[in-house]
Amino acid sequence: MTDLNTLKYTAEHEWVALDGDVATVGITDYAAEKLGDVVFAELPAAGTTVSAGQVCGEIESTKSVGELYAPVDGEVVEANTALDDDPSAINADPFGDGWLVKLRVDPGAVAGLLDRVAYLALTGGAE
């Protein structure tokens, strides 16, 4: 089980887990709940360069379309292709099997994102 307090967050409801210079990115449980059942995720291919705040993918539910914003500058090293067959992991396990992309990043940029407390304050939630 991921310790959610160790993750960083964005105002666009993404979470970021940093391991060395590789950041794993997904959407939060709050975002997944708001979207409803995800039926399709379009993710950037490995090698794609993304810049902070830029739309780099789409997450579609039966009811709506959500955009995936790059949380920081980076290069895609891997997209979660398991979601092609079973995007429901984004709802069932948003902080685990439902991860979206891994980016090679400047670790310092990740440090500037929101911490858990700040993110929960943003969504009006609390632990």
Binding site: E33, G36, D37, V39, E58, E60, S61, T62, K63, V65
Partner: protein, 377 residues
Amino acid sequence: MTHPEPRFTPLRERHEALGASFTDFGGWSMPVRYTSDLAEHRAVREAAGIFDISHMAEFLVAGPDAGAFLDFALSGRLSTIADDQAKYSLVLDTTGGIVDDVIVYRQHAERFIVVANAGNRHAVATAFAERIQGRDVRVEDWTDRIALIAVQGPASPAVLADTTEISGWTTPLGELGYYRMAHADFVPSPGAEPVPVHIGRTGYTGEDGFEVFVRTEDALAMWDALRRAGEGHGLVPAGLAARDTLRLEAGMPLYGHELSLDVSPVQVGLGRAVARGDDDFVGRSALAVEAAGRPVLVGLAAEGRRAGRAGYAVRDENGAEIGVVTSGALSPTLGHPIAMALVAPDHAATGGTLSIDVRGTLVPATVTELPFYRRTK
């Protein structure tokens, strides 16, 4: 007359206890899903779902001229349907545009109930008031007096049969036909006096099912009774998200998407809801001179998983915009994208290939007859 704050149905506390997500719809705060809209959709196709549709507007139409009034105020001939029969109809304006689509239930020759969409409650009330024109009929808005609960799916007859709090059916459940209504007695709590309820074999999912009309003050008891009876039949609470994908698969129009003041019945395949012959009704003269060449409603089926959604452009082989998607989703039952769209009539032939502009990507789509899904009887 509009409510600035969304209203809640009498079943709000049940939805909140179930952890529902809410959405604003037609001026009401309604459950959009409880857990998973796909699971709720599947339950209705394979077992049964229970929906709170108490936001729907109900009008009592009563009096010696009730039938004649409805024949004039609506597009179809309602005066001649049988007692306890239901009929789909339209409220048109003088230009032939659609003010609302409704279901009319006849209790007897001088008493009908009209069920209208929540968001059109006031438009329908206004139209009805204007169309009485001296007839001996009274029209009362009973929306706040009636709660409406739908039980839909192949297991829905078993759920109703096992609801022991409902008895005294005027037509036995097994003999109640589609688009027919029965009346029964409901005991809201042990030892309480029975209250009358009305049960229509109608729905908006493409499955067998029932819509239960109950007094607002008995809504919680009815919800609980139906859920208890449904425990052994796979009955799950289902929200508006599932209701929308179910009706889309069944090719059923939704006001504000397929239907509006800007389209006439024939454009959207509802010519059957318009009376033939000499009947005089509001909108008739405009329909008689309707110009050819207006867009028509078609089904579109695509491959892959990217769905066209309401408002997306439909393009021909040259990329020219020839229509617009009115509703679309990845069909949970069929596993591929489906949509309804208003397209130029020369592109409406079944089997033709068009494309949907999905946020800049052209997704090929085949013109398909509606509905996309038809239950096996």
